[in-house]
């Protein structure tokens, strides 16, 4: 829920939650669960991980709601929690070498879940985009998603990931170059 009205409404719900009214937090979850899920999925490219991360993000938010700084938006706050959870998860994947290998045709999680009525072209694009993003290193993927999908500024990304703005730029450039190579069939020929 964007805009000043949404922020005020969020603050009211937050205060009621702080006062012990769980229904208020339930309403907050209902407002933002899809957005948080989308962030988690964009970074992990896995529905199972996105489920776990979005739940964990709301649980942590609920437990820390008394320390919420009202200068920030609730969504921004929970999104930061979710992104940190995602990054930790991606680091763990890298440590365990569980980063998915190139998927065989038809062996794609999102393809399994995709609505059969969905446009075939979009499904194919989503599938290939998943594969391409999974081949990116986690740090480049995170920067790319936060910029392109979440439309965060370089400064916001820098602050969230605790890296210099120059590093944000260089990671973005590398991610774009790599993706252009992986998705060249969808891009106009040079």
């Amino acid at each position: 829920m964007d805009g000043p009205e949404g922020h005020v409404a969020d603050l009211e719900l937050i205060r009621r939650t702080q006062a012990g009214e769980n229904e208020a937090f339930d309403e907050l979850m209902k407002r933002y669960n899809q957005s948080i899920y989308r962030v988690a999925y964009s970074l992990t490219r896995s529905h199972a991980d996105a489920d776990d991360i979005s739940q964990e993000a709301f649980i942590r938010a609920y437990r820390a709601i008394k320390h919420f700084d009202e200068r920030y938006r609730f969504y921004t706050w929970v999104r930061k929690i979710a992104v940190n959870l995602c990054l930790n998860h991606l680091k763990r994947q890298r440590r365990f070498r569980l980063l998915p290998l190139p998927l065989a045709d038809g062996d794609n999680e999102s393809a399994d879940i995709a609505d059969p009525k969905a446009d075939a072209e979009t499904s194919s694009l989503r599938y290939d985009l998943d594969r391409a993003l999974l081949r990116l290193p986690a740090d480049q993927r995170a920067v790319f998603i936060l910029r392109v999908d979440q439309e965060m500024s370089y400064n916001e990304i820098s602050e969230m990931l605790k890296i210099p703005v120059g590093t944000v730029m260089s990671r973005l450039n590398r991610a774009r170059e790599r993706l252009k190579g992986l998705l060249k069939e969808y891009l106009p020929a040079p």
Binding site: Q55, R92, S110
Partner: protein, 335 residues
């Protein structure tokens, strides 16, 4: 690709994202107006972003919200320890096991190595086989009695005999002292011995004993006894003491030994280890007497004995050495 193109390519992403400062953005814009290749690059960038947007949000089940809120509230109600959100096959465990195994091996090797250097009981036992494997006293072993020391000791075999049980390893000086004292005061010796069949050789050194020993003791007696110097004493019944490899400390005190009725003499050779304070930290049988009872007595006595620590570079250090216990029958002592 010109230098301008190369520089523009580096800035193209930030230009597309409107993250460049106005001056730099204007320069990039001016270059794009003149370079078709860089314009195509920018278009490809825009196309890439549009692809991501076109893919849209992830597909979600219709009942996702109900399912999620149920799980969230259930976990919040359960409280307690936060559950790990991810469960993955633990590829970490084999690595951990490898590292732990490596650490154990390093620890064992380090411990054994440390003790092999004579710092602990285990090291003594490890050293024992090597000691046994050491060359046995050769023919020259018993052939050395000509040296002055042996002569001195050989002069008083009778006095020595009564005090049958010998701590053969005694330093030369104490031995000579005891021998001399026994010779000078046989009555006193007999009183002390009483009916005991056996008597502990390593006795406290009295001043009198020391004085009595002085004439027969060369100055070198203050130094560590060599096997050759000890050998004469074994003349006729060789003491199977191996050549000590380490410096042998001086006996300071030893416990009394039990009364025994022996028919034959016997010798037990122990390998003792002392710490820097002279306390016996390890005693193992280097050569058995063949009688378990005598071996046990010798071991027990050795473990309760106290030695003057060996000094190395003016500092007391741990030591490991051979130490024989000789047992003689009482009748032999009366001869």
């Amino acid at each position: 690709m010109s230098e301008d193109c190369r520089r523009t390519r580096l800035l193209l992403g930030a230009y597309h994202d409107h993250e460049l400062n106005p001056d730099v953005a204007r320069q990039v814009k001016e270059h794009l107006a003149t370079c078709a290749e860089c314009r195509r690059e920018l278009e490809s960038l825009e196309h890439l972003h549009s692809l991501v947007r076109k893919a849209g949000p992830p597909e979600m089940a219709e009942d996702y919200w109900d399912w999620q809120r149920t799980r969230v509230w259930r976990r919040l109600r359960e409280g307690g320890r936060e559950r790990q959100p991810f469960y993955r096959p633990s590829f970490f465990w084999p690595k951990l096991a490898t590292v732990a195994g490596g650490l154990v091996v390093v620890l064992v090797v380090a411990t054994v190595g440390w003790q092999m250097l004579g710092h602990g009981r285990y090291g003594e036992r490890r050293a024992l086989p090597a000691e046994r494997a050491a060359p046995a006293p050769g023919p020259g072993y018993a052939a050395k009695p000509e040296i002055p020391r042996s002569k001195t000791l050989a002069e008083a075999p009778e006095q020595e005999e009564p005090k049958v049980e010998a701590g053969g390893q005694l330093r030369e000086a104490p031995k000579a002292g005891v021998v001399a004292a026994a010779g000078a005061r046989p009555g006193a010796r007999a009183d002390r011995v009483g009916d005991r069949a056996m008597e502990q050789k390593p006795m406290p050194f009295t001043d009198q004993a020391r004085r009595g020993a002085q004439p027969a003791r060369p100055e070198a007696a203050q130094r560590r006894v060599s096997i050759a110097s000890r050998q004469p004493r074994a003349a006729g019944r060789a003491i199977p003491a191996a050549v000590p490899r380490e410096e042998e400390p001086e006996l300071v005190s030893a416990p009394p030994l039990p009364k025994l009725n022996l028919r034959d003499s016997a010798t037990v050779v122990l390998r003792l280890t002392t710490d820097s304070s002279g306390r016996v930290t390890g005693a193992v049988i280097s050569k058995s007497s063949g009688v378990m009872r005598l071996d046990s007595i010798a071991l027990e006595a050795a473990r309760r004995s106290r030695f003057k620590p060996v000094r190395k570079d003016h500092r007391p250090v741990a030591s490991s050495f051979q130490y024989p216990y000789r047992f003689k029958p009482r009748k032999h002592a009366q001869e």
